[in-house]
Amino acid sequence: MADDRRTHRSHVSYIDKSRGYYGAQGYPQAYQWAYHHAVPFAALEKPLAECRIGLITTSFFERKVDKGAVAGSGTKEPYAALCDDALGGLYNKDLFWDKDNTHTDDLDTYLPINRLREFAAQGRIGSLADRFYGVPTDYSHRRTSRRDAPQILEFARQDELDAVVLVPL
């Protein structure tokens, strides 16, 4: 990529864009995005080659989507499902992503089950857990923090995960 000079940062600011976008749709209150100064940090407790890795997505199975629901309306619940059952792809049409410029027909672009299984086969990780986990993209921080996150932690403990890869669409 050629060097360049720019008056604005290159990375898209979705916080800035969404403020203008929803403002133009007549929503006067800008969304309050989560901000934290302090960030928790946990280190791996064993070599990666011995770790069971879990995978978390914001995508859902089609049958679990309430067709009348607006994304973020709180009608989805966190879930755990077998990776094998997701190999045919998940339902993403109700999520917010750049549908004009790309597609989600390739599962491993947003839920890299096959790639992580390859790393397991090579011995880079111990294993990919049999189950993956889904979490709704919720408007409410409270629902995410108090309902969804503890449920995901419980799934992680049930499956004795050592580390987690989260891939928001």
Binding site: S13, Y22, I56, S73, N92, D108, D148, I152, V164, P168
Partner: protein
């Protein structure tokens, strides 16, 4: 999603977020973040590009192993368009004279649909 990562970290479980919305993830604040500067939809690599997907997941695993402090972000080397065409950045969620009226109408429509759903008892929260 970043709030979930924080919750897991607080409970002692190491995490890495693989994503394309850099500002949202970094404002929330996570321990480890692999950023790919792509349109939203393919944070783990381009469709059909197994080599790229493998590289991105490899970087996520590297970060799990090697990051020693929170807010460690690494950016993958990939660009969405080989010709450096950045139109996707401008196009996504754009607001200008070409769509201002349509956006206002879409907002009205959405609010009306939500009000109907609520009246029917289908809404929640």
């Amino acid at each position: 999603m970043s709030l979930v990562a924080r919750h897991l970290e607080e409970a002692g479980l190491p995490t890495v977020v693989v994503g394309s919305a850099r500002d949202i993830v970094e404002e929330c604040g996570v321990s480890r973040f692999v950023f790919t500067d792509f349109p939203l939809g393919n944070p783990a690599g381009k469709p059909g590009d197994v080599e790229m997907q493998t590289t991105i997941m490899g970087m996520a695993l590297d970060l799990l192993e090697r990051a020693w402090q929170p807010r460690t972000t690494t950016q993958t080397p990939f660009v969405w368009d080989a010709e450096s065409n950045d139109d996707w950045r401008r196009h996504f969620m754009k607001v200008d004279d070409s769509n201002r009226t349509a956006l206002a109408a879409a907002g009205d429509q959405r609010r009306a649909a939500q009000a109907d759903a609520k009246a029917d008892g289908a809404g929640r929260g």
